[in-house]
């Protein structure tokens, strides 16, 4: 690894391999993860580019063509108000992906900082901070989100924040555990010795070294947030009509499924395929990044 001790006679240069390169190599070998990742990329592009080509707006109603089965003009059919279902599924996918990503980031930021500070400070601070996490852990948080949204009205920003704010607990625990063991390492002592301030040590030295588990946990948070949003939309608490999300579309489809089932089938399939791919990608990332799993 270190070039200082490498003898000159070593003719061929051994290319250094980082955790990330290693992980990328392992991830590429996992066929299901690659398939999942590819599907997600295709879905993201399709959901943003697709609406430009369908020729309909997501809220454009045409009551003469209400509840039509799939046809050449409407590839996935129309809903009871005559809105093009394909366009709505594209928009709904966009919203669901955005909610997953943004709430995931919110929970990631809170959890990482909280966990890193608790682990780095240690002692009483750590005790108190982790006790708070324990207490919050046993809250029926879905109810709190419902209360929060019922109290402050349904805005999409609040939705991101509320969902993100209840998902950070596990991230905090994982990061704290990592930081506890990392902070005794020599490179942290060196940083302290040259007078780096605590904030600098946390941001520049500790957090970058916990990125592996953070990425893995992030990949598990995104599908669960998407699911939560759909759950809330199903209850009428998520994204507001006429704007669609996958959950809202499924809810609407389920209400009419005995008469026109295509309204349920297409958003349900997209939702299941999206979660399926995200879960496979998450599993693949875990296997690729988690050194403990290597022996498996």
């Amino acid at each position: 690894m270190s070039s200082a001790t490498a003898p000159v006679m070593e003719a061929e240069l051994v290319e250094g391999t980082s955790l990330w390169k290693d992980a990328w190599r392992r991830l590429r070998k996992n066929r299901m993860a690659v398939a999942g990742g590819t599907f997600i990329v295709v879905l993201v592009i399709a959901s943003f580019v697709g609406p430009l080509f369908t020729g309909y707006g997501y809220e454009a109603q045409n009551l003469d063509y209400g509840a039509q089965p799939p046809s050449a003009a409407h590839l996935l059919g129309t809903d009871y108000l005559g809105r093009d279902l394909l366009t709505r599924v594209f928009y709904g996918t966009q919203i669901s992906l955005l909610v997953g990503l943004l709430s995931g980031v919110v929970s990631l930021v809170i959890g990482t900082l909280y966990g890193a500070i608790a682990g780095f400070r240690g002692g009483r601070t750590d005790d108190v901070m982790m006790r708070i996490v324990d207490v919050l852990y046993s809250l029926p948080y879905v109810f709190l989100v419902i209360l929060l949204i019922a109290a402050f009205g349904q805005s999409i920003v609040l939705l991101f924040l509320a969902l993100g704010a209840v998902q950070w607990l596990s991230t905090a625990r994982i990061v704290r555990g990592q930081v506890l063991s990392l902070k005794e390492k020599e490179f942290v002592q060196a940083a302290r010795a040259v007078g780096t301030r605590p904030a600098g040590i946390i941001l520049r030295h500790l957090i970058p070294n916990t990125l592996g588990p953070i990425v893995v946990y992030f990949s598990l948070t995104v599908p669960s947030v998407i699911l939560q949003e759909a759950f809330l939309s199903y209850l009428g608490l998520g994204v507001q009509a006429p704007r669609p999300s996958l959950g809202a579309l499924i809810s609407q489809g389920a209400a009419h499924m005995d008469v026109y089932p295509w309204e349920l089938v297409s958003p349900a399939l997209v939702m299941a395929a999206l979660l399926f791919s995200l879960n496979f990608l998450g599993d693949g990332l875990r296997d690729a990044l988690d050194p403990q799993m290597k022996r498996g």
Binding site: D134, V135, L136, S138, L139, P140, V142, F143, L144, I146, L147, L148, A150, A151, F152, P223, L227, A230, F231, Y234, L235, G236, L237, G247, I250, S251, G253, A254, M257, D258, P261, L264, A268, M271, A272, A273, L275, F276, N279, F280, G296
Partner: protein
């Protein structure tokens, strides 16, 4: 063991207080009151109503009197369903919610553990891939997708089960399966992982070396330790099953408590909302406590921490 128990029971009190306080604050800062209906009520009547429910007093006084009554088990009178106490509403609805949740829990454990054991015992065979593929599929199909699909197939096409309603055991099956399948999938993955972890350990090799049959090795030695991850997942799972039943009850028109949760919050039915929060939280915390105690018995290491 006694100290472990005592500490766990005592820790319920601050948790419960935090929940109640957060909920109380959220409910009170929400704009709009329970008596702001479209029909304008004369101000005197409104004032009378507010006095009756103690809304004319200061927030801290309301908070303390709520706590005092809740400790005595009195959750007050609903503000929307006038004349019905919150206790009555919960007592009417909760049996149905409990029945669906319990069915889902048993379904999840039965299917999940079986699939997980098959996957672990026949690791890297078609059986394993099949079981884990199904588990992945199960995780990806949320209850509100599975529910309508089950109705479409088993109620509206084959007529095996009623599509909605309540009354016989047949009404339990579809909601229970819709609710429990996702967790069956999680349990399957946890079981498989837990068993594979234990199978690698020395005491299992010893058990095999002394000539025990594979069946006894699995049943007596591996399962006990291998199911620990499932036991620790029971707490979150019970919480998720009972909160998740809000949606399933809506799909299957189950006369449970689920619908009250959302409706009461949207209606600003302050007493019913608080009552639901207190009741569900207490139920979930006690379920968690039971799981922790069970875990303490199964894994002595926890008790001595």
């Amino acid at each position: 063991m006694r100290r472990f128990l005592l500490r766990r029971v005592l820790s319920l009190i601050p948790t419960m207080l935090v929940i109640v306080t957060i909920a109380f604050v959220l409910v009170r800062v929400a704009p709009g009151g329970p008596f702001d209906s479209e029909k304008a009520i004369p101000p005197e009547v409104k004032a009378d109503l507010e006095k009756k429910y103690g809304l004319d007093q200061s927030i801290p006084v309301q908070y303390l009197s709520f706590l005092k009554n809740a400790i005595r088990g009195d959750l007050g009178i609903s503000m929307k369903y006038q004349g019905r106490t919150v206790n009555e509403i919960i007592a009417d609805g909760f049996p149905a919610t409990l029945a669906v949740g319990s069915f889902a829990l048993i379904w999840a454990l039965l299917i999940g553990i079986s699939a997980g054991v098959i996957g672990a015992v026949r690791q890297n065979t078609a059986w394993d891939y099949g079981a884990m593929g199904f588990a992945m599929l199960g995780i990806s199909i949320p209850s509100f997708v599975l529910g309508p699909l089950l109705v479409l197939v088993f109620a509206l096409t084959f007529f095996w089960f009623p599509p909605a309603g309540w009354g016989t055991w047949r009404h339990l099956v579809l909601p229970g399966v819709a609710l429990g399948t996702v967790y069956a999938a999680y349990v399957a993955r946890l079981t498989r992982g837990g068993l594979l972890e234990i199978v690698r350990q020395d005491f299992v090799r010893t058990a095999r070396a002394k000539g025990l049959s594979e069946r006894i090795v699995i049943w007596r030695h591996v399962l006990k330790g291998g199911l620990l991850p499932v036991v620790s997942f029971l707490g979150p799972m019970i919480a998720a099953l009972f909160t998740g039943s809000v949606v399933v009850e809506k799909i299957f028109a189950t006369p449970g408590t689920g619908s009250y949760f959302v409706d009461s919050a949207l209606n600003r039915d302050l007493t019913l909302t608080m009552g639901m929060v207190v009741f569900y939280s207490a139920f979930l915390l006690l379920a968690n406590l039971a799981v922790d105690i069970a875990y303490g018995f199964l894994d002595p290491r926890v008790r001595h921490e």
